[in-house]
Point group: C2
Chain length 433, copies 2
């Protein structure tokens, strides 16, 4: 019997604010960070890694919450845990005292995401499979067992889960074979951070086109005049055939969002992302109605499955951008994929940050193979930074994520990176703080 012997949680922060990487209208100086969970076992060759993503201050609070949340795992049989991934999720989530602090939102939910991401990574490593394959090898009934369907039954029942998954199960292998040739399509945000100069924007847009991207995203929302100029530059460089997306990172009220997006309509954006508060289901629905045919995208701050359920019910989204480190791992993410399918909304997961690209590639492969069966209107975010810190970094070629091959959820960081960027005692920070 292999046993989980300890849970180490490290506050890891990268000084991205120095280069304005990641700068947008709401978040001007983020230091991309991870509350990084390492589940150790008494088998030296078996461990689980997971994290949630933050942008600096408060990462210590998430780390503390993850440490507390993970305590019930210590001393437990790895087989028992990983053979019942629905059971361990429900056990960890059922702490009613911690539930009061949300429920299912904010710091406690980010911590739950970090811990369950590590548990899923452990399960995939134990099985010797990349996470997407662990998932696509599960039967529809096994998958229904891991789903958290609480509060969803007015939109998605267990019977529907099984029937939707069963429909595509016979053809899964063909789609795996296809993706192993083509990869899963992605787009880049690396070009358009708000803090970049016009020259840098122009150069990065050109590089993105040269690298084969068919979609490029720009940050907007700080100043309309700047946005008009930057969108014009981008459109000039990328031409008419490449899609341009714009992202306001929640800076607008609903009426202002409508006005601003209409002022940028001449640049034919495919979508406006996070036009207003991520909690505002009805607000997103109102913006969507007003700015069509420009689409509305949101979800990186979508706090839980109940929020997404309402976004679908209210027809508030054209693109669902669920987040792999904000939702409580696959147990909550799979039901969101299934609801998206049922309501006809393509899922284009949020990525970037620290390691989010490493995670979402598994999710998008799973989506195509087991849930959606379609690549239409689907493109997953990719940002080209911080990958050097990951042992199984994602590989992107010709605007597509290559199918991950290594066992696990690709969430493991190099031990040297963790040691160097641990806050405040790692090598990098201790020399500066």
């Amino acid at each position: 019997m292999t046993v989980i012997t300890s849970v180490d949680v490290t506050d890891v922060r990268f000084p991205t604010s120095l280069s304005a990487d990641g700068s947008d209208a709401m978040n001007k100086d983020g230091d991309y960070s991870a509350a990084y969970v390492h589940l150790r076992t008494d088998d030296p060759d078996l461990a689980g890694y997971g994290f949630t993503f933050t942008i600096g201050r408060g990462n210590d609070i998430c780390a503390l919450a993850a440490r507390d949340r993970a305590q019930p795992l210590v001393g437990r049989d790895v087989a028992e845990i990983t053979d019942d991934l629905g059971g361990i999720y429900r056990e960890l989530a059922s702490d009613s005292q911690l539930r009061w602090l949300g429920p299912e939102k904010g710091v406690e939910h980010l911590a739950m995401a970090a811990v369950m991401n590590a548990v899923w990574d452990l399960a995939a490593r134990r099985a010797g499979k990349p996470l997407w394959q662990l998932l696509t090898d599960m039967t529809p009934e096994q998958m229904a067992d891991v789903c958290d369907l609480r509060y969803l039954s007015d939109a998605l029942t267990r019977d529907e889960v099984v029937s939707m998954l069963s429909e595509l199960a016979p053809t899964r292998a063909a789609r795996v074979a296809e993706l192993s040739q083509t990869g899963y399509p992605c787009y880049t945000t690396s070009a358009g951070w708000l803090g970049y100069s016009d020259e840098k924007l122009r150069r990065l847009c050109q590089e993105a086109v040269d690298d084969g991207y068919s979609h490029i995203k720009l940050k907007v929302g700080a100043n309309l005049e700047d946005d008009v100029r930057r969108c014009r530059i981008a459109r000039e460089v990328i031409g008419d055939d490449v899609h341009l997306m714009i992202d306001a990172n929640q800076v607008w009220d609903v009426p202002q969002a409508i006005e601003w997006v209409q002022a940028l309509a001449e640049f034919r954006p495919l979508w406006i992302e996070e036009p207003t508060s991520p909690d505002d289901v009805l607000g997103h629905a109102a913006v969507r109605k007003a700015v069509a045919p420009i689409g509305v995208a949101s979800g990186e701050h979508g706090m839980n499955r109940v929020l997404f359920k309402q976004m679908f019910q209210a027809e508030a989204l054209d693109y669902c951008q669920l987040d792999s480190a904000r939702l409580a791992s696959l147990n909550e993410i799979i039901p969101v994929f299934l609801m998206a399918k049922k309501y006809g909304v393509p899922v284009c997961p949020h990525a970037g940050g620290v390691g989010l690209c490493e995670l979402v590639q598994h999710l998008s492969v799973f989506d195509y193979v087991a849930v959606s069966g379609s690549l239409e209107n689907r493109v997953t975010e990719y940002v080209d930074h911080l990958h050097e810190h990951f042992v199984d970094a994602c590989i992107v070629r010709d605007g597509a994520y290559a199918l991950p091959q290594a066992p696990g959820y690709s969430a493991q960081m190099h031990a040297e990176s963790v040691a160097e960027y641990a806050y405040p005692d790692g090598g990098y920070w201790s020399a500066r703080v």
Copy 2:
């Protein structure tokens, strides 16, 4: 010049789980707790006290978050802070790195509530007025300046705030005079905790009627047969003229909520409280439509003003139960009161917990005097426990809160209580943990 010299935040926990006080279908064993903020100044006679309320584990995490959030206050001029309560709110809320952890929800928002409650307490103490009077002495424009209206402009504009407040301003004094005679009506939840025996339930219902209460609330949702029996007992004891409310504490999915409430309809509940996830605006609207004329009440877990805005827009609530320690103090609470008025929903604040009764009495007085001008369908929660720990404990007579007289927000605990119940090092816990 008086300066804020330090911020002490204490994790205070009371062992309420021992007596099943506060037990309900979701929360079986809460230890009622406060992340308790003490703003010290260099004037020994001036301080500010505030808190957020939790039910045990994780209170340390809220305390840590409150300590971080309050740091910008240290060294600052008390006059500068308390003369611009909108400015200091926006300053504390504007930390974009901490914002990522919500935004405006969960642990970070609870911490913001604790800190801003202490700032408002400080302002009222400095003015030598109970908080409700500090508020009702403000002009409509001053009050608009403290409101956080971000993300609300599709439901409430600054002009509307000023105009709504101006309408009732000339008659404020008459309503203050009235309340100083009658107090503000309240109801009791002390009778109906789920963990109590039938005999205790019967006795407490009788005592509540004898004490002059016209409204009594029971916890439901764990077992339908038990609920039928308990509602029958309550109705027998209180008769037809006293209102019975029921509270499910979020245990149901939407279809189940509808079915269960319909099964209890024969006992004529005034409202069903928290029938499902507190995030589910559309779900509350669906339940409300299905169970009318039984009302739907929710709000104690209403995470922020954007949630309440949608609850009003979707016509999801008959009663708004905003929480004084979950919303970010008056800056966010005042806009919710104003939206409730505009959309015609009475506010019946959530209380109980630790010190929530002490806070909400000020809010309800403010509401009647400055916003609603009506007592119709309005009744504020009262739970008779833990008041002995507060220096200016609320006074309830004949089913009404007496108008608070002492300067401040009534949030100060006795130093002995804080020392005894500090976790884990206070006298009570160090003997047990």
